[in-house]
C-alpha cells in the first residue's frame, strides 16, 4: 500500500482507537494518543520520500496526494510541534474531563494539517481544510457554554474563508476541467484578466482567515485564548501556518503570473504590516497572558504575511524562516502559559507574580522564546527579522519597513510585560506553594528553547530545506548568495557573521558574570523582594508592592487615537445594520392573506413588464 495512505490510516485508526481507549481507561487512552502521533511521525520521516505520489480518481475527478519539498518543510512544523504538544498535553490535560473528545480532535487536527500539506489537488485540499476547521472548532468549544460566542465567531469567519475558497475551486474547475494544482498553475496564464484578479483574491481570503490577516483576524484572539493551552500552541503555531502555506503557494505560483501594476502584492503586504502593528498595540493592552499571546500571534503572522506578499527571494526566505520560528517560540510560550495555569490556576498577569524562583525551568524556556520573539541576537528570531528588513529595504518598501520596525520595537513592551508579570516582581505569599511543572511539560519547552538557540547561530540548518522548497516553487537557489551555514548576506553584499558574534557575546557575558560574582562574592547576599528601599517602611504581609495594573498606561495614552475602536466594532456595526434591514424586510409578512395575494399579483405584473428583458 502507498505510504501516504498508511499515514492517513494510522491517523484515522488512531483517532478512533484513542477515543475508545480513553473510554476504557485513562492510561490506555493517553498511550494510544501518543503512540498514534509518534507512529505517524516516524512513518512520515522514515518511509515517505519527496516525490511519492498516490493518485486515484473519484467520480471522474483526478485526485493526487504527494509530497513536495515545501510541504515537507511545513510538515516539520506540524509534526514537530504536534508531537511535542502531544507529550505536553498528557500532563497538562490530566484530570480534565472529556479527554477522549480532546484527543480525538487533536489527532484529527494533525491529520487534517498533514492532509492539506500532502494533497496536490484542490478538492482533497478543501476537504482536509474543512476537517481542520471542524476539529479546531470542536476544541475551541471544549470548555462548553462559556465559550459559545467565541466558537461562533471562529466558525463564522472560517465559513467565510471556506466559501471563498470553494467558489474559487468551482471557478477553477469550470475553466480548467481539472482540480489538480499543477494543471491550474499550467493554465492560469490563459485565464481572462478578471479571473486572474478574482481567483487569487478569493483564495487569499480563505487563507487569510486562517493566517489571521487583518481585517479577518477578529476570531483569532478569542479562539487562541479560549482553547486549552496544550492545543493553543498547536493552533497558533501550526494551524495558522496552513494559511501561510496556502499564501506561499498562491503568491509563488499564481500571482507571479499576473501583471505587477494590479498591486495585489502591495495591498497584502500592507495588510500584513498593519496586522503586525495593530496586533502589537492590542497585545500591549492585554492583562491576560492568553489574550496577550493571542494578539501577539496575530502580530507575528503579520510579519510573515508581509514577507510572503513581498515575495522576493530574500523576503520569502525570511517569511518561511519566521513561520517555522514562530511555531517554535509561540508554541513554547503557550506551553509556558499552560504550565503556569496548571500550577497557579490563573493566567492573569496582574495576579500571578514572582514565579522565577519557583519555576526556574519554565522561566528559562519563556526567556529564550521571548528573546527569540523580540528578535534579539543571538537567538533565531533575529535571523528572520534581519532578513525581512533587508528584503523589504532591497525591494523598495521603505514605509513598510518602518511600520514593521515599529511593531517589532513595540513588541518589546508586551514581551517584558509577559516576563515581568509572571516571573519577576514581588514574591507574594499567595504563590509560595507553587512548584515547578511536571517534567513532561517542561521538557518539550526546553527542547524548543535549545532549537531556538541553535538556529540563531546556525540558521543554515533550517535555511537549507527552505531553499530546496523554494527552488521547487521556482525561486533561484539562495545558498551562498544570501546565506551560508552561519553567515547571512543582504542585497548589498554586507554580511552578518553569526558565529563570532555568538562567541563574543558569550565571552563578554561570562567575563562580566565572573567579575560581578567573584568580586562581590564575599559581601553579596540574597535578600527577599520585600527588602526593598521603600522609604524606610517595612512592608507588611498584605501590603501590595506589585506594579501591575495599567502597566503601559503612558504608552497606551500616546497611541490612544489608533486604539479607540477595535475592528470588532465595525463588524458589529455591519451586523446591527443587517439586523435592522432584515427587521424591516420581515414586515412584508403581515400575516394577512390579502396582502400576500397583492404581492403575488405585483410580482406577476413586474414579470410581465420585464418580460422582454428577462426572457427575450
Amino acid at each position: 500500500m502507498n505510504s501516504i495512505v498508511i499515514i492517513f490510516l494510522i491517523f484515522l485508526a488512531g483517532a478512533v482507537l484513542t477515543y475508545i481507549g480513553q473510554r476504557l481507561s485513562n492510561i490506555l487512552g493517553s498511550s494510544l494518543f501518543l503512540l498514534t502521533i509518534f507512529a505517524a511521525t516516524a512513518q512520515f520521516y522514515l518511509r515517505v520520500n519527496t516525490g511519492d505520489i498516490f493518485s486515484f480518481s473519484l467520480n471522474g475527478l483526478e485526485m493526487e496526494w504527494g509530497i513536495t519539498p515545501i510541504s515537507w518543510l511545513f510538515s516539520l512544523i506540524v509534526l514537530g510541534l504536534g508531537s511535542m504538544a502531544a507529550v505536553y498535553s498528557i500532563s497538562a490535560m490530566k484530570a480534565k474531563e472529556r479527554l477522549g473528545y480532546f484527543y480525538f480532535n487533536f489527532i484529527m487536527g494533525i491529520f487534517s494539517m498533514m492532509g492539506i500539506l500532502l494533497s496536490r489537488d484542490l478538492v482533497s485540499f478543501f476537504i482536509f481544510w474543512e476537517i481542520m476547521t471542524w476539529s479546531s472548532y470542536m476544541i475551541v468549544i471544549y470548555e462548553g457554554r462559556s465559550v459559545q460566542k467565541v466558537g461562533i465567531k471562529y466558525f463564522l469567519f472560517s465559513a467565510i474563508g471556506a466559501y471563498a475558497m470553494l467558489m474559487a475551486i468551482v471557478i477553477i474547475y469550470s475553466q480548467v476541467h481539472s482540480v489538480l494544482i499543477e494543471d491550474l498553475v499550467y493554465s492560469f496564464s490563459s485565464f481572462t484578466l478578471a479571473y486572474k484578479i478574482w481567483l487569487p483574491i478569493l483564495l487569499l481570503t480563505g487563507f487569510g482567515v486562517k493566517a489571521g490577516m487583518m481585517p479577518l483576524h477578529v476570531w483569532a484572539p478569542g479562539a487562541y485564548s479560549h482553547s486549552p493551552m496544550a492545543y493553543s500552541s498547536l493552533f497558533s503555531g501550526a494551524l495558522s501556518k496552513m494559511g501561510v502555506y496556502g499564501m506561499v503557494l498562491v503568491f509563488s505560483m499564481l500571482i507571479t503570473q499576473i501583471p505587477e501594476h494590479l498591486l495585489i502584492r502591495e495591498v497584502i503586504a500592507w495588510l500584513g504590516a498593519l496586522t503586525a502593528a495593530i496586533g502589537t498595540l492590542w497585545a500591549i493592552a492585554q492583562d491576560d497572558a492568553k489574550k496577550l499571546l493571542a494578539y501577539s500571534s496575530v502580530a507575528q503572522l503579520g510579519y510573515i504575511i508581509t514577507g510572503v506578499a513581498v515575495g522576493t527571494e530574500l523576503a520569502m526566505l525570511a517569511a518561511i524562516f519566521l513561520a517555522v520560528l514562530h511555531a517554535l517560540f509561540k508554541g513554547t510560550l503557550f506551553m509556558v502559559v499552560g504550565a503556569i495555569e496548571k500550577q497557579t490556576g490563573t493566567t492573569n498577569l496582574t495576579e500571578v507574580t514572582g514565579l522565577i524562583r519557583k519555576m526556574p525551568w519554565t522561566f528559562i524556556a519563556a526567556l529564550m522564546s521571548i528573546i527569540a520573539l523580540a528578535g534579539i541576537p543571538p537567538l533565531g528570531g533575529f535571523v528572520g527579522k534581519w532578513m525581512l528588513y533587508e528584503a523589504l529595504i532591497a525591494s523598495d518598501h521603505y514605509i513598510l519597513v518602518v511600520l514593521i520596525f515599529f511593531a517589532s520595537t513595540a513588541g518589546f513592551l508586551y514581551c517584558y510585560k509577559f516576563l515581568f508579570g509572571f516571573f519577576l516582581g514581588q514574591e507574594e505569599k499567595e504563590w509560595a506553594h507553587v512548584k515547578e511543572a511536571p517534567a513532561t511539560m517542561v521538557v518539550p519547552m526546553l527542547i524548543f528553547s535549545v532549537l531556538l538557540f541553535v538556529l540563531g547561530t546556525f540558521p543554515g540548518l533550517l535555511l537549507k530545506p527552505i531553499d530546496i522548497g523554494m527552488q521547487e516553487l521556482g525561486y533561484a537557489a539562495s545558498e551562498g548568495h544570501y546565506w551560508t551555514m552561519s553567515v547571512l548576506f543582504n542585497e548589498y553584499g554586507n554580511a552578518i557573521m553569526l558565529q563570532p558574534i555568538l562567541y563574543a557575546i558569550i565571552a563578554i557575558f561570562l567575563f562580566f558574570l565572573v567579575f560581578l560574582t567573584a568580586k562581590a562574592f564575599k559581601g553579596t547576599r540574597y535578600v527577599s523582594t520585600k527588602d526593598i528601599s521603600s522609604s524606610g517602611e517595612v512592608p507588611g504581609e498584605f501590603e501590595n508592592l506589585s506594579f501591575k495594573e495599567n502597566f503601559f498606561q503612558p504608552f497606551l495614552r500616546a497611541v490612544e487615537p489608533v486604539m479607540k475602536r477595535q475592528i470588532d466594532w465595525y463588524y458589529t456595526l455591519v451586523g446591527n445594520g443587517m439586523e435592522a434591514l432584515f427587521n424591516f424586510v420581515r414586515r412584508v409578512y403581515t400575516g394577512n392573506g390579502q396582502t400576500y395575494a397583492i404581492y403575488a399579483i405585483v410580482f406577476l405584473v413586474i414579470l410581465l413588464l420585464l418580460k422582454s428583458n428577462l426572457f427575450g
Binding site: G523, R525, D531, S533
Partner: protein, 181 residues
C-alpha cells in the same frame, strides 16, 4: 602579594581617598533642618564641588544625613534605611535635636540622643546649623575617613544588641526584620 599587609594598606588608602571624595548623601528630611539642605547643594554653597551628591535610594547611598528631631515613629524608618545601606556607611547628626533633643528635650514622642540608637560619626551643632556649618561637617567626616576613624558601621555591628535594646525600648510594636550581616 595581594593579601600582603603593606599592599592592603595602600589599597585601603586608595579606597579611603575615593570614599572621602565621593559622599552620596541620603538626606532624611525628618525635621525642620531639611530646609538647610537645598542651599547647601545649590549655587550659593555648592557641596558638589566636594564630591557630595544626593543619592536616590539607601542602596546607593554612603552617608545618612539626619536633619533634625526624630519622633519614635520616624526613628523606626531611619533605622530601616540605615540597615539597608551598604558598607561602608556613615551617619551625620544634624542640629541640636540629634544631640540632646534640642528644644524638644522634654517631648513625649521624640528621642533625645540619636547616639543611643544609631552610630553617629559626626554631629553638626546648631539650631539651625547654617550651610557653612554643614559643609564643615562634611569636611570633618572626610578627615575622619582619611584617618580611618569613621567606623560607625563596624561599631553598630559590634554592639548590635545594645543598640537593639535601646531601639526596642522606644519603638513599641517592633516588626522589623533582624539585621543580619
Amino acid at each position: 602579594m595581594i593579601n600582603d599587609k603593606n599592599s592592603q594598606k595602600i589599597v585601603d588608602h586608595i579606597h579611603n581617598f575615593a570614599r572621602k571624595h565621593s559622599l552620596w548623601v541620603l538626606a532624611y528630611g525628618t525635621g525642620c533642618g531639611a530646609i538647610e539642605i537645598p542651599p547647601t547643594m545649590t549655587s550659593r554653597y555648592d557641596a558638589e564641588r566636594l564630591g557630595v551628591r544626593g543619592a536616590a535610594t539607601p542602596r546607593q547611598a554612603d552617608l545618612l544625613l539626619i536633619t533634625g528631631y526624630l519622633t519614635t515613629k520616624t526613628l523606626k524608618r531611619v533605622i530601616r534605611v540605615y540597615e539597608q545601606m551598604q558598607d561602608p556607611k556613615y551617619v551625620i547628626g544634624f542640629g541640636s535635636c540629634t544631640i540632646n533633643g534640642g528644644m524638644y528635650y522634654d517631648s513625649y514622642n521624640t528621642i533625645n540622643a540619636l547616639d543611643r540608637y544609631l552610630p553617629v560619626d559626626v554631629y553638626i551643632n546648631g539650631c539651625m546649623p547654617r550651610p557653612e556649618a554643614v559643609i564643615a561637617g562634611f569636611t570633618k567626616l572626610q578627615e575622619l575617613i582619611t584617618a580611618g576613624k569613621a567606623d560607625g558601621a563596624a561599631k553598630y555591628k559590634e554592639k548590635l544588641e545594645w543598640y537593639r535594646k535601646n531601639q526596642k525600648n522606644v519603638i513599641p510594636n517592633w516588626t522589623m526584620p533582624e539585621y543580619n550581616w
